[in-house]
Amino acid sequence: MFDPEVKFKLLTPKGVILTMTDSEIIGLYSGGRHEEAFNAIVDAYTERLYWHVRRFLCCHEDTDDLLQDIFIKIWTALPTFRGESKLYTWLYRIATNEVLNHLRKQKLKALISLDTAAAILERKIDDDPYFNGNELQRELHKSIQKLPEKQRVVFSLRYFDEMKYEDISVITGTSVGALKASYHHAYIKIKEDMQKLL
């Protein structure tokens, strides 16, 4: 489970560095060292946010483009961060909103091309040269693409990131009760899809 107050080792071309905890990053920002704080966010969150986005968009190129937009948004929104929420939930909220906006645009494009957004995403999984999982994993990710927006978000954050419902609630702006219900529905649907394969 992800803990934003635990440092992790980062292998860089300059050697191994320790990432900063959220409190250290906030401390840097409050001390007026804005660029350093942002760079520490880039160090600590690039991979986490990448995989969070990739689970929704499937394709590496789309994820790369959107991740750049997300970090630009983080940089511009950083002065508005008041520390009322945890830094990591604030970052995930920005990323999740960007992902959902992107998926809505994709949905509109899919309407024009007389295809479903889920079908487009499933095709992306099949065509992705960077997919190196097994068939079960392929089917799991295809099933996730069929879920409604909110269920997809809660399933992804709960199942893969093992995030607490309270934190998901801050990220999505939905009550814990509603999230639990959404997760349950999503879980059942995916489980049924997967059972068919066995």
């Binding site: 860089t12 071309p13 060292r33 660029e35 350093e36 942002f38 760079n39 880039v42 160090d43 690039t46 991979e47 990448y50 995989w51 990739r54 689970r55 499937c58 590496h60 790369d64 991740l67 750049q68 970090f71 940089w75 992705d128 960077y130 997919f131 190196n132 999982g133 097994n134 079960l136 994993q137 392929r138 799991l140 990710h141 199942y159 893969f160 879980y187 995916i190 489980k191 997967m194 059972q195 066995l198």
Partner: protein
């Protein structure tokens, strides 16, 4: 029946693992390109040092100039008598004296000297006689 009881999402651990990969060195490149150039924290002294240097050089030049001028300038007060005494030694006065002496010298020239000079310059005796 046995099949439906099985929870594949719980039982198969590998399902929680990410089946995707990224191009080699992607995260390093991404981080490098995304990071902001850090503005260096400049101390107050570093910021004012160029102006302080210019001010120090200016003060030095003014002080040195003042010192040299004070050392080389005669600051005594001249009285009118000093001016008169000074003017007697002035070169212009000497020029007037020379001029006066020359006039006196011209006045004392004898006719013989003039004739000698005219002969020396090639004037004929007839012409000298005529001019008399």
């Amino acid at each position: 029946m046995k099949q439906t009881d099985k929870d594949i999402l719980k039982d198969v651990a590998e399902l929680r693992r990410m089946p995707y990969s990224v191009p080699e060195g992607y995260f390093d490149t991404f981080r490098r390109e995304m990071k902001k150039p850090q503005t260096q924290v400049v101390s107050l002294w570093s910021r004012i040092m160029p102006y302080a240097s210019v001010a120090a050089v200016f003060i030095f030049l003014v002080s040195a100039g003042t010192f040299i001028l004070e050392r080389t300038t005669d600051t005594r007060d001249f009285t009118q008598e000093d001016y008169i005494l000074f003017s007697e030694n002035f070169s212009l006065n000497t020029i007037y004296q020379v001029h006066e002496e020359t006039q006196l010298a011209d006045a004392s020239l004898a006719d013989e000297d003039i004739i000698e000079y005219l002969i020396y310059t090639g004037v004929s005796a007839e012409e000298i006689e005529y001019s008399k």
